[in-house]
Protein backbone atom coordinates (compact mmCIF):
# COMPACT_ATOMS: atom_id res chain seq x y z
CA UNK A 1 0.00 0.00 0.00
CA UNK A 2 2.82 2.41 0.85
CA UNK A 3 4.51 1.43 -2.38
CA UNK A 4 1.30 2.07 -4.28
CA UNK A 5 1.01 5.49 -2.70
CA UNK A 6 4.60 6.36 -3.52
CA UNK A 7 4.14 5.25 -7.11
CA UNK A 8 0.99 7.31 -7.41
CA UNK A 9 2.77 10.31 -5.94
CA UNK A 10 5.67 9.92 -8.37
CA UNK A 11 3.15 9.80 -11.21
CA UNK A 12 1.57 13.04 -10.07
CA UNK A 13 4.96 14.74 -9.84
CA UNK A 14 5.87 13.51 -13.34
CA UNK A 15 2.59 14.82 -14.71
CA UNK A 16 3.24 18.15 -13.05
CA UNK A 17 6.60 18.31 -14.81
CA UNK A 18 4.79 17.80 -18.11
CA UNK A 19 2.38 20.58 -17.12
CA UNK A 20 5.25 22.95 -16.39
CA UNK A 21 6.85 22.13 -19.72
CA UNK A 22 3.56 22.63 -21.58
CA UNK A 23 2.89 25.96 -19.89
CA UNK A 24 6.41 27.14 -20.66
CA UNK A 25 5.99 26.18 -24.31
CA UNK A 26 2.54 27.77 -24.40
CA UNK A 27 4.10 31.09 -23.44
CA UNK A 28 6.62 30.70 -26.23
CA UNK A 29 4.38 29.65 -29.15
CA UNK A 30 3.74 33.31 -29.82
CA UNK A 31 6.04 35.26 -32.08
CA UNK A 32 8.36 37.53 -30.15
CA UNK A 33 8.37 37.29 -26.39
CA UNK A 34 5.74 38.05 -23.76
CA UNK A 35 7.04 41.59 -23.33
CA UNK A 36 6.63 42.39 -27.00
CA UNK A 37 2.90 41.95 -26.49
CA UNK A 38 2.96 44.28 -23.52
CA UNK A 39 4.69 46.98 -25.51
CA UNK A 40 1.86 47.03 -28.06
CA UNK A 41 -0.27 48.70 -25.47
CA UNK A 42 2.09 50.79 -23.41
CA UNK A 43 4.73 53.31 -24.21
CA UNK A 44 8.05 51.79 -23.30
CA UNK A 45 11.37 53.06 -24.62
CA UNK A 46 13.82 50.54 -26.15
CA UNK A 47 16.18 51.02 -23.20
CA UNK A 48 13.43 50.27 -20.73
CA UNK A 49 12.44 47.27 -22.77
CA UNK A 50 15.92 45.75 -22.72
CA UNK A 51 16.10 46.39 -18.99
CA UNK A 52 12.78 44.64 -18.54
CA UNK A 53 13.96 41.78 -20.75
CA UNK A 54 16.95 41.30 -18.51
CA UNK A 55 14.71 41.51 -15.43
CA UNK A 56 12.45 38.76 -16.75
CA UNK A 57 15.42 36.75 -18.06
CA UNK A 58 14.19 36.95 -21.64
CA UNK A 59 17.63 37.85 -23.02
CA UNK A 60 18.97 34.38 -22.33
CA UNK A 61 18.87 31.31 -24.60
CA UNK A 62 15.60 29.39 -24.39
CA UNK A 63 17.12 26.29 -22.81
CA UNK A 64 18.50 28.36 -19.98
CA UNK A 65 15.14 30.12 -19.59
CA UNK A 66 13.42 26.76 -19.23
CA UNK A 67 15.98 25.74 -16.61
CA UNK A 68 15.39 28.91 -14.62
CA UNK A 69 11.66 28.55 -14.99
CA UNK A 70 11.74 24.98 -13.63
CA UNK A 71 14.04 26.03 -10.82
CA UNK A 72 11.69 28.88 -9.93
CA UNK A 73 8.61 26.68 -9.97
CA UNK A 74 10.26 24.06 -7.78
CA UNK A 75 10.93 26.69 -5.13
CA UNK A 76 7.46 28.23 -5.40
CA UNK A 77 8.64 31.25 -7.38
CA UNK A 78 6.18 31.87 -10.21
CA UNK A 79 7.79 35.05 -11.45
CA UNK A 80 6.81 38.71 -11.27
CA UNK A 81 3.43 40.05 -12.27
CA UNK A 82 3.34 42.62 -15.07
CA UNK A 83 0.12 44.40 -14.15
CA UNK A 84 0.92 44.42 -10.43
CA UNK A 85 4.66 44.99 -10.92
CA UNK A 86 6.76 44.44 -8.80
CA UNK A 87 4.54 42.02 -6.84
CA UNK A 88 5.37 38.32 -6.97
CA UNK A 89 2.78 36.13 -8.69
CA UNK A 90 2.88 33.67 -5.81
CA UNK A 91 2.20 36.45 -3.26
CA UNK A 92 -0.77 37.70 -5.28
CA UNK A 93 -2.20 34.20 -5.52
CA UNK A 94 -1.69 33.62 -1.81
CA UNK A 95 -3.54 36.80 -0.78
CA UNK A 96 -6.50 35.86 -2.99
CA UNK A 97 -6.75 32.26 -1.85
CA UNK A 98 -9.02 32.79 1.17
CA UNK A 99 -12.04 34.32 -0.59
CA UNK A 100 -11.94 31.66 -3.32
CA UNK A 101 -11.87 28.85 -0.77
CA UNK A 102 -14.79 30.44 1.09
CA UNK A 103 -16.92 30.78 -2.04
CA UNK A 104 -15.93 27.43 -3.55
CA UNK A 105 -16.27 25.64 -0.23
CA UNK A 106 -19.81 26.90 0.29
CA UNK A 107 -20.80 25.79 -3.20
CA UNK A 108 -19.20 22.37 -2.73
CA UNK A 109 -21.00 21.94 0.58
CA UNK A 110 -24.35 22.63 -1.08
CA UNK A 111 -23.62 20.40 -4.05
CA UNK A 112 -22.56 17.51 -1.87
CA UNK A 113 -25.55 17.73 0.48
CA UNK A 114 -28.48 18.95 -1.61
CA UNK A 115 -27.11 17.44 -4.82
CA UNK A 116 -26.47 14.07 -3.21
CA UNK A 117 -29.86 14.03 -1.55
CA UNK A 118 -31.64 14.92 -4.80
CA UNK A 119 -29.67 12.29 -6.71
CA UNK A 120 -30.65 9.59 -4.21
CA UNK A 121 -34.24 10.82 -4.25
CA UNK A 122 -34.30 10.52 -8.05
CA UNK A 123 -32.68 7.09 -8.16
CA UNK A 124 -35.30 5.68 -5.82
CA UNK A 125 -38.07 7.03 -8.02
CA UNK A 126 -36.44 6.13 -11.30
CA UNK A 127 -38.67 6.89 -14.29
CA UNK A 128 -41.29 8.69 -12.21
CA UNK A 129 -42.53 12.18 -12.99
CA UNK A 130 -40.31 13.61 -10.22
CA UNK A 131 -37.27 11.90 -11.69
CA UNK A 132 -37.99 13.10 -15.21
CA UNK A 133 -38.57 16.72 -14.21
CA UNK A 134 -35.57 16.87 -11.91
CA UNK A 135 -33.43 15.49 -14.73
CA UNK A 136 -34.74 18.12 -17.12
CA UNK A 137 -34.29 20.87 -14.57
CA UNK A 138 -30.72 19.87 -13.78
CA UNK A 139 -29.86 19.55 -17.46
CA UNK A 140 -31.18 23.08 -17.96
CA UNK A 141 -29.08 24.42 -15.10
CA UNK A 142 -26.10 22.70 -16.66
CA UNK A 143 -26.74 24.55 -19.92
CA UNK A 144 -26.88 28.05 -18.45
CA UNK A 145 -23.80 30.27 -18.86
CA UNK A 146 -22.76 31.27 -15.34
CA UNK A 147 -21.82 34.84 -16.28
CA UNK A 148 -25.27 35.49 -17.74
CA UNK A 149 -27.09 33.98 -14.77
CA UNK A 150 -24.94 36.11 -12.46
CA UNK A 151 -25.92 39.28 -14.34
CA UNK A 152 -29.61 38.38 -14.28
CA UNK A 153 -29.54 37.64 -10.55
CA UNK A 154 -27.73 40.93 -9.89
CA UNK A 155 -30.30 42.79 -11.97
CA UNK A 156 -33.20 41.26 -10.05
CA UNK A 157 -31.97 41.02 -6.48
CA UNK A 158 -29.51 43.91 -6.29
CA UNK A 159 -30.40 46.56 -8.83
CA UNK A 160 -34.17 46.14 -8.88
CA UNK A 161 -35.15 45.02 -5.38
CA UNK A 162 -32.01 46.18 -3.54
CA UNK A 163 -32.12 43.06 -1.38
CA UNK A 164 -28.55 41.90 -1.71
CA UNK A 165 -25.20 43.52 -2.49
CA UNK A 166 -23.96 43.08 -6.06
CA UNK A 167 -20.20 43.27 -5.59
CA UNK A 168 -17.34 42.63 -3.20
CA UNK A 169 -17.10 40.29 -0.26
CA UNK A 170 -17.75 42.82 2.51
CA UNK A 171 -19.40 46.21 2.78
CA UNK A 172 -16.59 48.81 2.51
CA UNK A 173 -18.59 51.23 4.69
CA UNK A 174 -18.85 48.75 7.54
CA UNK A 175 -16.49 49.87 10.29
CA UNK A 176 -13.82 47.47 11.43
CA UNK A 177 -15.09 47.68 15.00
CA UNK A 178 -18.59 46.48 14.12
CA UNK A 179 -19.81 43.53 16.20
CA UNK A 180 -18.88 40.09 14.92
CA UNK A 181 -22.47 39.15 14.24
CA UNK A 182 -22.96 42.20 12.01
CA UNK A 183 -19.81 41.30 10.10
CA UNK A 184 -20.94 37.70 9.70
CA UNK A 185 -24.36 38.76 8.40
CA UNK A 186 -22.67 41.16 6.00
CA UNK A 187 -20.43 38.38 4.69
CA UNK A 188 -23.34 35.98 4.25
CA UNK A 189 -25.34 38.60 2.39
CA UNK A 190 -22.44 39.06 -0.01
CA UNK A 191 -22.08 35.31 -0.42
CA UNK A 192 -25.68 34.56 -1.37
CA UNK A 193 -25.75 35.64 -5.02
CA UNK A 194 -22.39 34.20 -6.16
CA UNK A 195 -23.13 30.94 -4.33
CA UNK A 196 -26.62 30.76 -5.83
CA UNK A 197 -25.23 31.31 -9.34
CA UNK A 198 -22.53 28.69 -9.04
CA UNK A 199 -24.77 26.14 -7.34
CA UNK A 200 -27.50 26.46 -9.94
CA UNK A 201 -25.09 25.74 -12.77
CA UNK A 202 -23.09 22.99 -11.05
CA UNK A 203 -25.65 21.15 -8.92
CA UNK A 204 -26.64 19.14 -11.97
CA UNK A 205 -23.43 17.13 -12.17
CA UNK A 206 -23.61 16.11 -8.50
CA UNK A 207 -27.23 15.03 -8.95
CA UNK A 208 -26.52 13.06 -12.09
CA UNK A 209 -23.42 11.38 -10.70
CA UNK A 210 -25.24 10.39 -7.53
CA UNK A 211 -28.32 9.20 -9.39
CA UNK A 212 -26.31 6.95 -11.70
CA UNK A 213 -24.16 5.59 -8.87
CA UNK A 214 -27.22 4.89 -6.74
CA UNK A 215 -29.03 3.13 -9.60
CA UNK A 216 -26.04 0.80 -10.00
CA UNK A 217 -26.27 -0.20 -6.35
CA UNK A 218 -30.04 -0.32 -5.92
CA UNK A 219 -30.42 -3.23 -8.33
CA UNK A 220 -28.00 -5.41 -6.35
CA UNK A 221 -29.25 -8.32 -4.25
CA UNK A 222 -27.87 -7.14 -0.93
CA UNK A 223 -30.11 -4.09 -1.02
CA UNK A 224 -33.18 -6.25 -1.44
CA UNK A 225 -31.84 -8.57 1.26
CA UNK A 226 -31.42 -5.63 3.64
CA UNK A 227 -34.99 -4.56 3.01
CA UNK A 228 -36.19 -8.14 3.43
CA UNK A 229 -34.48 -8.35 6.81
CA UNK A 230 -36.89 -5.66 7.94
CA UNK A 231 -34.53 -2.68 8.10
CA UNK A 232 -36.20 0.69 7.81
CA UNK A 233 -36.11 2.34 4.38
CA UNK A 234 -33.77 4.99 5.81
CA UNK A 235 -31.30 2.35 6.98
CA UNK A 236 -31.41 0.56 3.65
CA UNK A 237 -31.02 3.79 1.75
CA UNK A 238 -28.17 5.43 3.63
CA UNK A 239 -26.35 2.68 5.57
CA UNK A 240 -26.44 0.02 2.88
CA UNK A 241 -27.07 1.39 -0.59
CA UNK A 242 -25.63 4.89 -0.36
CA UNK A 243 -22.37 3.83 1.29
CA UNK A 244 -21.72 1.66 -1.71
CA UNK A 245 -22.64 4.45 -4.09
CA UNK A 246 -20.06 6.78 -2.54
CA UNK A 247 -17.22 5.81 -4.84
CA UNK A 248 -18.12 7.86 -7.90
CA UNK A 249 -18.93 10.79 -5.63
CA UNK A 250 -15.42 10.64 -4.26
CA UNK A 251 -14.09 10.84 -7.81
CA UNK A 252 -16.34 13.83 -8.46
CA UNK A 253 -15.13 15.49 -5.27
CA UNK A 254 -11.57 15.01 -6.47
CA UNK A 255 -12.49 16.69 -9.74
CA UNK A 256 -14.10 19.59 -7.92
CA UNK A 257 -11.37 20.36 -5.39
CA UNK A 258 -9.52 22.55 -7.91
CA UNK A 259 -12.60 24.69 -8.10
CA UNK A 260 -12.13 25.50 -4.41
CA UNK A 261 -8.83 27.14 -5.16
CA UNK A 262 -9.18 28.72 -8.55
CA UNK A 263 -12.82 29.61 -8.12
CA UNK A 264 -14.79 30.71 -11.11
CA UNK A 265 -13.23 33.29 -13.38
CA UNK A 266 -16.61 34.47 -14.66
CA UNK A 267 -18.61 34.63 -11.45
CA UNK A 268 -15.81 36.12 -9.36
CA UNK A 269 -15.19 38.73 -12.04
CA UNK A 270 -18.85 39.79 -12.17
CA UNK A 271 -19.28 39.98 -8.41
CA UNK A 272 -15.84 41.54 -7.90
CA UNK A 273 -15.21 38.72 -5.47
CA UNK A 274 -11.61 39.19 -4.30
CA UNK A 275 -10.56 35.64 -5.19
CA UNK A 276 -8.21 33.95 -7.61
CA UNK A 277 -10.78 33.75 -10.41
CA UNK A 278 -11.19 37.52 -10.39
CA UNK A 279 -7.40 37.85 -10.30
CA UNK A 280 -7.25 35.80 -13.51
CA UNK A 281 -9.88 38.05 -15.09
CA UNK A 282 -7.79 41.11 -14.13
CA UNK A 283 -4.75 39.41 -15.65
CA UNK A 284 -6.63 39.15 -18.97
CA UNK A 285 -7.40 42.85 -19.01
CA UNK A 286 -3.84 43.76 -18.09
CA UNK A 287 -2.36 41.21 -20.51
CA UNK A 288 -0.48 39.93 -17.49
CA UNK A 289 1.01 36.73 -18.90
CA UNK A 290 3.10 35.64 -15.90
CA UNK A 291 0.12 36.04 -13.58
CA UNK A 292 -2.18 34.03 -15.84
CA UNK A 293 0.50 31.39 -16.25
CA UNK A 294 0.98 31.20 -12.48
CA UNK A 295 -2.77 30.81 -12.00
CA UNK A 296 -2.86 28.01 -14.56
CA UNK A 297 0.06 26.33 -12.82
CA UNK A 298 -1.65 26.54 -9.45
CA UNK A 299 -4.86 25.19 -10.99
CA UNK A 300 -3.02 22.23 -12.50
CA UNK A 301 -1.27 21.48 -9.23
CA UNK A 302 -4.59 21.38 -7.43
CA UNK A 303 -6.17 19.26 -10.15
CA UNK A 304 -3.44 16.68 -9.64
CA UNK A 305 -3.77 16.95 -5.87
CA UNK A 306 -7.53 16.43 -6.17
CA UNK A 307 -7.05 13.28 -8.23
CA UNK A 308 -4.49 12.02 -5.75
CA UNK A 309 -6.81 12.66 -2.80
CA UNK A 310 -9.66 10.89 -4.55
CA UNK A 311 -7.41 7.87 -5.10
CA UNK A 312 -6.33 7.85 -1.47
CA UNK A 313 -9.98 8.13 -0.49
CA UNK A 314 -10.84 5.09 -2.58
CA UNK A 315 -7.99 3.27 -0.93
CA UNK A 316 -9.25 4.05 2.54
CA UNK A 317 -12.87 3.24 1.73
CA UNK A 318 -12.47 0.02 -0.17
CA UNK A 319 -10.37 -2.89 1.07
CA UNK A 320 -10.41 -4.40 -2.42
CA UNK A 321 -8.36 -1.49 -3.76
CA UNK A 322 -6.02 -1.84 -0.79
CA UNK A 323 -5.28 -5.46 -1.69
CA UNK A 324 -3.96 -4.66 -5.15
Amino acid sequence: MIRWLLRRLAQAVATFLVVTLLLFLLMRVAPGDPLARLVDQRRVSPEELSLLRARFGLDQPIGQQLGQFLQGVSSGDLGVSIAHYPDQVSTLLWTRLGPSVLLGGTVLLINFTLGVWLGVFQAERRGSRWDRWLTRLSLTGYSVPSFWLALILVAIFSLHWHWLPATQMTDPLLSGSAPLATKAIDLVRHLILPVLTLSLVSLASAMRYQRTAMLEVLRLDFVRAAAARGLTPGQVRWRHAWRNALFPMLTLLGLWIPFLVTGSVFVEAIFNWPGIGALAAEAILGRDYPLLQGTAMLAAAVVLLGNLLADVGHLLLDPRVRAT
Partner: protein, 280 residues
Protein backbone atom coordinates in the same frame (compact mmCIF):
# COMPACT_ATOMS: atom_id res chain seq x y z
CA UNK B 1 -19.85 4.65 -40.29
CA UNK B 2 -22.52 6.92 -41.74
CA UNK B 3 -24.83 4.01 -41.05
CA UNK B 4 -24.01 3.95 -37.37
CA UNK B 5 -24.46 7.73 -37.09
CA UNK B 6 -27.83 7.42 -38.78
CA UNK B 7 -29.00 4.67 -36.46
CA UNK B 8 -27.74 6.63 -33.47
CA UNK B 9 -29.77 9.63 -34.60
CA UNK B 10 -32.82 7.41 -34.97
CA UNK B 11 -32.34 6.21 -31.41
CA UNK B 12 -32.02 9.81 -30.21
CA UNK B 13 -35.23 10.66 -32.09
CA UNK B 14 -37.14 7.95 -30.21
CA UNK B 15 -36.24 9.62 -26.90
CA UNK B 16 -38.66 12.48 -26.15
CA UNK B 17 -35.91 14.77 -24.88
CA UNK B 18 -33.68 13.88 -27.79
CA UNK B 19 -36.50 14.67 -30.21
CA UNK B 20 -37.00 18.13 -28.70
CA UNK B 21 -33.27 18.68 -28.96
CA UNK B 22 -33.11 17.65 -32.60
CA UNK B 23 -36.09 19.83 -33.57
CA UNK B 24 -34.66 22.88 -31.78
CA UNK B 25 -31.19 22.37 -33.22
CA UNK B 26 -32.46 21.89 -36.77
CA UNK B 27 -34.54 25.06 -36.36
CA UNK B 28 -31.47 26.94 -35.16
CA UNK B 29 -29.36 25.72 -38.04
CA UNK B 30 -32.05 26.74 -40.53
CA UNK B 31 -32.37 30.15 -38.90
CA UNK B 32 -28.62 30.56 -39.00
CA UNK B 33 -28.54 29.62 -42.69
CA UNK B 34 -31.50 31.73 -43.82
CA UNK B 35 -30.75 34.29 -41.16
CA UNK B 36 -30.17 37.82 -42.27
CA UNK B 37 -32.70 37.82 -45.13
CA UNK B 38 -35.49 40.25 -44.47
CA UNK B 39 -34.07 41.32 -41.13
CA UNK B 40 -32.52 44.68 -40.30
CA UNK B 41 -28.76 44.82 -40.82
CA UNK B 42 -27.09 43.24 -37.77
CA UNK B 43 -23.99 45.34 -38.49
CA UNK B 44 -25.94 48.56 -39.02
CA UNK B 45 -23.89 51.64 -38.24
CA UNK B 46 -23.93 52.06 -34.46
CA UNK B 47 -26.20 54.84 -33.37
CA UNK B 48 -25.54 55.45 -29.69
CA UNK B 49 -27.81 58.50 -29.64
CA UNK B 50 -30.93 56.52 -30.50
CA UNK B 51 -29.71 53.97 -27.92
CA UNK B 52 -31.51 50.79 -26.94
CA UNK B 53 -35.13 50.64 -28.03
CA UNK B 54 -37.62 48.25 -26.44
CA UNK B 55 -39.12 45.36 -28.43
CA UNK B 56 -41.77 46.54 -30.88
CA UNK B 57 -43.02 46.12 -34.44
CA UNK B 58 -39.82 47.60 -35.95
CA UNK B 59 -37.50 45.59 -33.78
CA UNK B 60 -38.98 42.29 -32.67
CA UNK B 61 -36.62 41.86 -29.70
CA UNK B 62 -35.61 45.49 -29.36
CA UNK B 63 -32.21 47.02 -30.08
CA UNK B 64 -28.91 47.01 -28.25
CA UNK B 65 -27.26 50.10 -26.70
CA UNK B 66 -25.85 50.97 -30.12
CA UNK B 67 -29.35 50.76 -31.63
CA UNK B 68 -28.68 47.58 -33.60
CA UNK B 69 -31.50 45.05 -33.99
CA UNK B 70 -31.18 42.34 -31.31
CA UNK B 71 -33.03 39.66 -33.27
CA UNK B 72 -30.90 40.14 -36.38
CA UNK B 73 -27.75 40.01 -34.28
CA UNK B 74 -29.00 36.89 -32.48
CA UNK B 75 -29.52 35.11 -35.78
CA UNK B 76 -26.10 36.12 -37.09
CA UNK B 77 -24.68 35.18 -33.70
CA UNK B 78 -26.22 31.74 -34.10
CA UNK B 79 -24.32 31.35 -37.34
CA UNK B 80 -21.06 32.33 -35.63
CA UNK B 81 -21.66 30.18 -32.54
CA UNK B 82 -22.68 27.09 -34.48
CA UNK B 83 -19.82 27.48 -36.96
CA UNK B 84 -17.24 27.92 -34.21
CA UNK B 85 -18.62 24.98 -32.23
CA UNK B 86 -19.06 22.70 -35.25
CA UNK B 87 -15.63 23.27 -36.75
CA UNK B 88 -13.78 23.27 -33.42
CA UNK B 89 -15.40 20.03 -32.29
CA UNK B 90 -14.78 18.41 -35.68
CA UNK B 91 -11.12 19.31 -35.39
CA UNK B 92 -10.92 18.16 -31.79
CA UNK B 93 -12.63 14.84 -32.47
CA UNK B 94 -10.47 14.16 -35.52
CA UNK B 95 -7.25 14.77 -33.61
CA UNK B 96 -8.55 12.89 -30.57
CA UNK B 97 -9.56 9.86 -32.61
CA UNK B 98 -6.27 9.82 -34.50
CA UNK B 99 -4.17 10.10 -31.36
CA UNK B 100 -6.31 7.58 -29.50
CA UNK B 101 -6.15 4.98 -32.26
CA UNK B 102 -2.41 5.48 -32.76
CA UNK B 103 -1.65 5.21 -29.05
CA UNK B 104 -3.93 2.25 -28.47
CA UNK B 105 -2.95 0.26 -31.52
CA UNK B 106 0.78 0.93 -31.59
CA UNK B 107 1.24 0.78 -27.82
CA UNK B 108 4.75 0.87 -26.38
CA UNK B 109 6.73 4.07 -26.34
CA UNK B 110 4.35 5.95 -28.65
CA UNK B 111 1.49 5.21 -26.29
CA UNK B 112 3.48 6.18 -23.18
CA UNK B 113 4.69 9.49 -24.58
CA UNK B 114 1.32 10.50 -26.01
CA UNK B 115 -0.62 9.59 -22.90
CA UNK B 116 1.83 11.36 -20.55
CA UNK B 117 1.38 14.50 -22.65
CA UNK B 118 -2.39 14.09 -22.51
CA UNK B 119 -2.21 13.61 -18.72
CA UNK B 120 -0.37 16.89 -18.41
CA UNK B 121 -2.66 18.77 -20.76
CA UNK B 122 -5.77 17.48 -19.02
CA UNK B 123 -4.52 18.68 -15.66
CA UNK B 124 -4.61 22.31 -16.80
CA UNK B 125 -8.20 23.62 -16.84
CA UNK B 126 -9.18 24.25 -20.46
CA UNK B 127 -10.26 27.81 -19.77
CA UNK B 128 -6.74 28.74 -18.65
CA UNK B 129 -5.08 27.16 -21.70
CA UNK B 130 -7.52 29.05 -23.88
CA UNK B 131 -6.92 32.34 -22.09
CA UNK B 132 -3.16 31.96 -22.45
CA UNK B 133 -3.53 31.16 -26.14
CA UNK B 134 -6.10 33.82 -27.07
CA UNK B 135 -4.06 36.54 -25.36
CA UNK B 136 -1.29 35.96 -27.89
CA UNK B 137 -3.30 38.08 -30.31
CA UNK B 138 -4.23 41.68 -29.73
CA UNK B 139 -7.56 40.90 -31.45
CA UNK B 140 -7.85 37.22 -32.20
CA UNK B 141 -9.02 36.40 -35.79
CA UNK B 142 -12.03 34.10 -35.98
CA UNK B 143 -10.10 31.32 -37.74
CA UNK B 144 -7.41 31.36 -35.06
CA UNK B 145 -10.10 31.30 -32.36
CA UNK B 146 -11.69 28.19 -33.88
CA UNK B 147 -8.29 26.55 -34.25
CA UNK B 148 -7.37 27.29 -30.65
CA UNK B 149 -10.63 25.84 -29.30
CA UNK B 150 -10.26 22.76 -31.48
CA UNK B 151 -6.67 22.19 -30.46
CA UNK B 152 -7.55 22.26 -26.75
CA UNK B 153 -10.55 19.95 -26.98
CA UNK B 154 -9.17 16.56 -28.00
CA UNK B 155 -7.47 15.27 -24.86
CA UNK B 156 -10.49 13.53 -23.38
CA UNK B 157 -11.55 12.06 -26.73
CA UNK B 158 -8.11 10.55 -27.27
CA UNK B 159 -8.28 8.80 -23.89
CA UNK B 160 -11.75 7.50 -24.67
CA UNK B 161 -10.81 6.20 -28.12
CA UNK B 162 -7.60 4.66 -26.82
CA UNK B 163 -9.65 2.73 -24.27
CA UNK B 164 -12.01 1.46 -26.96
CA UNK B 165 -9.09 0.42 -29.15
CA UNK B 166 -7.41 -1.47 -26.30
CA UNK B 167 -10.67 -3.28 -25.70
CA UNK B 168 -11.05 -4.13 -29.39
CA UNK B 169 -7.44 -4.84 -30.23
CA UNK B 170 -7.61 -8.40 -29.03
CA UNK B 171 -11.06 -8.99 -30.54
CA UNK B 172 -11.14 -11.80 -33.03
CA UNK B 173 -12.19 -9.77 -36.04
CA UNK B 174 -9.25 -7.41 -35.55
CA UNK B 175 -6.84 -10.31 -35.11
CA UNK B 176 -8.30 -11.92 -38.21
CA UNK B 177 -7.86 -8.75 -40.26
CA UNK B 178 -4.21 -8.62 -39.21
CA UNK B 179 -3.71 -12.30 -39.95
CA UNK B 180 -5.25 -11.85 -43.40
CA UNK B 181 -2.49 -9.40 -44.19
CA UNK B 182 -4.25 -6.06 -43.64
CA UNK B 183 -1.81 -3.24 -43.01
CA UNK B 184 -1.78 -1.41 -39.67
CA UNK B 185 -3.32 1.63 -41.29
CA UNK B 186 -6.13 -0.48 -42.75
CA UNK B 187 -6.82 -2.19 -39.44
CA UNK B 188 -6.97 1.15 -37.69
CA UNK B 189 -9.16 2.92 -40.22
CA UNK B 190 -11.46 0.15 -41.39
CA UNK B 191 -11.80 -2.01 -38.31
CA UNK B 192 -10.98 -0.04 -35.17
CA UNK B 193 -12.32 3.42 -36.02
CA UNK B 194 -15.87 2.41 -37.12
CA UNK B 195 -16.32 0.42 -33.94
CA UNK B 196 -15.39 3.35 -31.75
CA UNK B 197 -17.88 5.75 -33.35
CA UNK B 198 -20.45 5.38 -30.55
CA UNK B 199 -18.41 6.93 -27.75
CA UNK B 200 -16.89 9.43 -30.19
CA UNK B 201 -20.34 10.61 -31.23
CA UNK B 202 -21.47 11.10 -27.62
CA UNK B 203 -18.26 12.95 -26.75
CA UNK B 204 -18.59 15.14 -29.84
CA UNK B 205 -22.21 16.06 -29.09
CA UNK B 206 -21.51 16.97 -25.48
CA UNK B 207 -18.37 18.76 -26.72
CA UNK B 208 -20.49 21.05 -28.89
CA UNK B 209 -22.46 22.22 -25.85
CA UNK B 210 -19.28 22.79 -23.90
CA UNK B 211 -17.71 24.78 -26.73
CA UNK B 212 -20.77 27.01 -27.17
CA UNK B 213 -20.56 27.91 -23.46
CA UNK B 214 -16.79 28.44 -23.68
CA UNK B 215 -17.07 30.58 -26.79
CA UNK B 216 -19.77 32.72 -25.19
CA UNK B 217 -17.68 33.08 -22.02
CA UNK B 218 -14.50 34.03 -23.85
CA UNK B 219 -16.39 36.48 -26.05
CA UNK B 220 -17.90 37.96 -22.89
CA UNK B 221 -14.39 38.42 -21.52
CA UNK B 222 -13.44 40.14 -24.79
CA UNK B 223 -10.91 37.53 -25.91
CA UNK B 224 -13.21 35.51 -28.19
CA UNK B 225 -15.22 36.58 -31.22
CA UNK B 226 -14.24 40.22 -31.83
CA UNK B 227 -16.69 43.07 -32.44
CA UNK B 228 -18.34 44.14 -34.65
CA UNK B 229 -18.99 40.45 -35.51
CA UNK B 230 -22.07 39.59 -33.44
CA UNK B 231 -21.69 36.77 -30.93
CA UNK B 232 -24.03 35.86 -28.11
CA UNK B 233 -21.35 36.32 -25.45
CA UNK B 234 -20.29 39.63 -26.96
CA UNK B 235 -23.92 40.83 -27.03
CA UNK B 236 -24.23 40.15 -23.31
CA UNK B 237 -21.02 42.09 -22.72
CA UNK B 238 -22.39 45.06 -24.71
CA UNK B 239 -25.66 44.95 -22.81
CA UNK B 240 -24.08 44.73 -19.38
CA UNK B 241 -23.99 48.51 -18.91
CA UNK B 242 -27.71 48.88 -19.67
CA UNK B 243 -28.88 45.90 -17.67
CA UNK B 244 -31.66 47.84 -15.96
CA UNK B 245 -32.75 50.22 -18.70
CA UNK B 246 -32.67 47.73 -21.59
CA UNK B 247 -32.84 44.24 -20.08
CA UNK B 248 -33.93 42.71 -23.40
CA UNK B 249 -30.46 43.32 -24.88
CA UNK B 250 -28.92 40.96 -22.28
CA UNK B 251 -31.78 38.54 -21.64
CA UNK B 252 -32.34 37.29 -25.20
CA UNK B 253 -28.75 36.38 -26.08
CA UNK B 254 -28.54 34.44 -22.81
CA UNK B 255 -31.76 32.60 -23.57
CA UNK B 256 -30.39 31.76 -27.02
CA UNK B 257 -27.31 30.21 -25.40
CA UNK B 258 -29.38 28.22 -22.90
CA UNK B 259 -31.72 26.96 -25.62
CA UNK B 260 -28.90 25.88 -27.93
CA UNK B 261 -26.76 24.22 -25.28
CA UNK B 262 -29.78 22.50 -23.76
CA UNK B 263 -30.81 21.16 -27.18
CA UNK B 264 -27.34 19.78 -27.76
CA UNK B 265 -27.15 18.26 -24.28
CA UNK B 266 -30.57 16.63 -24.69
CA UNK B 267 -29.37 14.99 -27.89
CA UNK B 268 -26.12 13.92 -26.22
CA UNK B 269 -28.05 12.48 -23.31
CA UNK B 270 -30.38 10.53 -25.59
CA UNK B 271 -27.42 9.19 -27.57
CA UNK B 272 -25.67 8.15 -24.39
CA UNK B 273 -28.61 6.29 -22.97
CA UNK B 274 -28.98 4.67 -26.40
CA UNK B 275 -25.48 3.28 -26.10
CA UNK B 276 -25.68 2.54 -22.38
CA UNK B 277 -29.29 1.87 -21.43
CA UNK B 278 -28.42 1.14 -17.80
CA UNK B 279 -27.80 4.79 -16.97
CA UNK B 280 -31.24 5.90 -18.19
Amino acid sequence: MTGSIWSALQRAWRDPGGRVGIVVLVGLVLAALLGPFGLPDPLAAPNPIAGAQPPGPDHLLGTDPLSRDVFARLVTGARISLTVAGLAVLLAVTIGAAVGILAGYLGGIVDSVLMRLVDGAMAIPRLFILLLLTLVWERIPLAAFILVIGLTGWFGTSRLVRGEVLRLRSAEFVQAAGALGASSARVMLRHLFPNATGPILVAATLGVGEVILLEAGLSFLGVGVQPPTPSWGGMILDARSVLMTAPWAAVFPGLAIVMTVLAVNLIGDALQSGFDPRSA
